[in-house]
């Protein structure tokens, strides 16, 4: 269970006269339940990546609270990080190490013993269908192969919470489909709490049990796809999203 409430984060850009403050996240609140896939949907620059980085403990919020299973991320980042598996926007692998070495390295850093990490690597490779790749150096991997290795790396310590930042970026249809399958299995078979961000409607529509629409650094709507459609009176999810995401701030101003 991940609870985010009234999160604020601003960045300072430039120095001296060119200095200006950019508010990336401005009061985002949402809750992601266990055994549930929660989609963070929003246009470019809505603050999705910043929110997820805050949850991952990579950034410290200016105000607001983040709890992972009740653990305060700001106060105990390392305890929270041990429960999180994060596939961030940056999916860099070490090109001179094999896929297995990449995965085992992260397992060891997460505190697993060498043989436990090796067993996890094999188990994850079987689940993600990448057993044949394990002993190849990651240099020259395709986008899909890279994504699978990075995902296995993020899941190596068997975290109860999985965070994915635009996981389907740069993936083809087959890779996207296999990722979707994997996420469903993780939810159904292992009861994981999965949060992923995206700006692609179909993906969210097909996969998410719950959708959080973010725009301008705020949460503008929250609910299942059906609930959001009903709320906006649309039949098309894309039209519903546009109405929510881009009319939201205007409605807020009118208030």
């Amino acid at each position: 269970m991940i609870e985010v409430s009234a999160l604020h984060k601003a960045f300072t850009q430039g120095r001296g006269r060119a200095r200006r403050v950019v508010t990336a996240v401005d009061g985002v609140s949402w809750c992601a339940a266990d055994a549930c896939i929660t989609g963070l949907l929003g246009p470019n620059g809505a603050g999705k990546t910043t929110t997820l980085r805050l949850v991952a403990g990579l950034l410290t919020p200016d105000t607001g609270q983040i709890r992972v299973d009740g653990i305060d991320v700001v106060r105990e980042p390392q305890r929270a990080q041990a429960r999180l598996g994060v596939l961030s926007d940056a999916r860099g692998l070490y090109p001179r190490l094999t896929a297995r070495e990449n995965i085992v390295y992260y397992g060891r850093l997460q505190g697993l013993a060498a043989d436990a990490a090796a067993r996890r690597a094999d188990a994850l490779a079987a689940m993600l269908g990448m057993a044949a790749l394990l002993d190849r150096r990651t240099e020259g991997f395709s986008q899909g192969e890279r994504m699978k290795t990075a995902l296995a790396r993020a899941l190596v310590h068997d975290p109860s919470h999985i965070i994915l930042d635009e996981p389907t970026n740069g993936l083809d249809v087959l890779a996207t489909r296999s990722l979707r399958e994997t996420l469903r299995r993780l939810r159904d078979e292992q009861g994981k709490c999965i949060v992923f961000s995206s700006h692609i409607m179909q993906e969210v529509e097909r996969l998410c049990d719950q959708v959080v629409v973010v725009a301008g650094g705020r949460t503008v709507a929250e609910g299942t796809v059906a609930e959001l459609l009903a709320r906006t009176g649309q039949t098309d999810f894309e039209a519903s999203f546009v109405q929510l995401a881009f009319a939201g701030p205007v409605a807020g101003q009118a208030r």
């Binding site: 961030s88 926007d89 940056a90 860099g92 692998l93 070490y94 390295y105 850093l109």
Partner: protein, 387 residues
């Protein structure tokens, strides 16, 4: 600490897998000792050979039998100089000074009219210039002998003309003279260490940023200082390995010495190698930390390379201070990294003793700078991952 060890092991494996870079680093660091020594010994052997050859190249010597007799009595040989020697000297294709004897030399000498001998050389021709002094001294010896003979004939003691006597005493012992030739060795060893650590330092910082693997790394529950410590340990070990290899490459390198004098003077045994390492290992650690600190602010490997040129340039220019500064070794030289190591390594080559303070001071400076740089990298790490 366990996490730092894991990071260290991974970075070390990673660095060893980069075969092409590793090969270049090893080739340059291992080959540098023997190569330098061979080049030096060839140079010294050439100079020695010329100093040893007692030859006078002359034009018109057949008109001066007395002079010829004197020259041959001094165990020198007289050789006929080519007719176009002036042009050849200018073009540097001929490397000996030429003695020109004027016609009627013998008669003038007998009459007591001082005949003029001309010694032709060119100052832009270093080989001819080098032996011109020896030939001039030989000719002066001839003049002195003739003058003494004349005085003795007239019943005057030649000692009357010699008001003072000059004895030359060269204070430089053979090792110091050899050190003039081996002065640049410490510099090359230093540069080998610097370039050896450079690639690893950039790869673990800016390279990690460029690949996008720093952000996932920071999302593991490993403290930042442990990550930085592990990385620094791996980079420093690469630099230290290069230092060890290049120092020990001088040991077999000595067998290749062609010049016997240089071989006798260049004494580089296990003791010297150990002292070199005592100086170089802390420096390797410091330079690694410094290059990582410069690189962590850079977004790409290329940018980091450009920025680290400043470090490379500073390390290669600092030893020049001793060239510009003619007042000799100053106490503050030992406070400046790189300069301290070069100064002390030269002292080792000159066979001087090093005190504990001489070794400890640069070590303390290196430790301080390393600690500062590591703390800086640890502080910058999170900002670097996100930018």
């Amino acid at each position: 600490m366990h996490a730092a060890w894991l990071v260290f092991r991974k970075e070390w494996t990673d660095a060893l897998r980069d075969r092409r870079t590793l090969l270049m680093v090893l080739l340059s660091s291992v080959a540098i000792g023997p190569l330098l020594l061979v080049a030096l010994s060839a140079l010294v052997a050439d100079v020695e050979a010329q100093a040893d050859e007692r030859e006078v190249w002359a034009v018109g010597i057949e008109q001066a039998p007395t002079l010829r007799n004197y020259i041959e009595r001094q165990a020198w040989t007289v050789k006929p100089a080519p007719a176009d020697h002036e042009a050849a000297l200018r073009k540097r294709s001929f490397g000996h000074p030429v003695l020109r004897v004027p016609p009627g030399f013998e008669r003038d000498l007998a009459d007591g009219v001082a005949p003029t001998l001309t010694l032709v050389s060119a100052s832009a021709n270093p080989r001819a210039r080098g032996s011109a002094g020896a030939v001039a001294r030989l000719l002066q010896g001839f003049g002195q002998e003739q003058a003494s003979l004349r005085l003795v004939l007239r019943g005057v003691s030649p000692a009357l003309l010699q008001v003072v006597q000059i004895d030359e005493l060269d204070l430089a012992d053979p090792q110091v003279r050899a050190a003039q030739f081996t002065r640049m060795l410490p510099f090359f060893v230093l540069m080998a260490v610097l370039y050896g650590a450079l690639h690893a330092a950039l790869d673990t910082t800016a390279g990690e940023r460029e690949r996008g693997s720093l952000e996932p790394l920071l999302m593991t529950p490993v403290p930042r200082w442990a990550i930085v410590l592990g990385k620094w340990g791996a980079v420093a070990s690469v630099g230290m390995a290069v230092a060890v290899l290049s120092c020990f490459s001088f040991l077999p390198g000595q067998w290749l010495l062609r010049s016997e004098t240089l071989a006798a003077m260049f004494q580089f045994g296990w003791r010297e190698a150990a002292l070199f390492l005592a100086l170089l290992l802390p420096l390797a650690a410091m330079l690694s930390a410094l290059m990582m600190a410069v690189a962590i602010r850079c977004k790409s490997f290329k940018e980091a390379q450009a920025n680290n040129t400043v470090v490379v340039l500073a390390v290669s220019l600092v030893p020049m201070l001793t060239l510009f500064n003619q007042s000799g070794e100053q106490p503050w030289h030992l406070w400046l990294p790189a300069l301290a190591q070069i100064t002390l390594m030269q002292r080792v080559l000159e066979g001087e003793a090093l005190g504990a303070a001489d070794l400890l001071l640069p070590l303390a400076v290196a430790a301080l700078i390393s600690a500062g740089c590591i703390a800086y990298v640890a502080r910058q790490l999170r900002a670097a991952a996100l930018r």
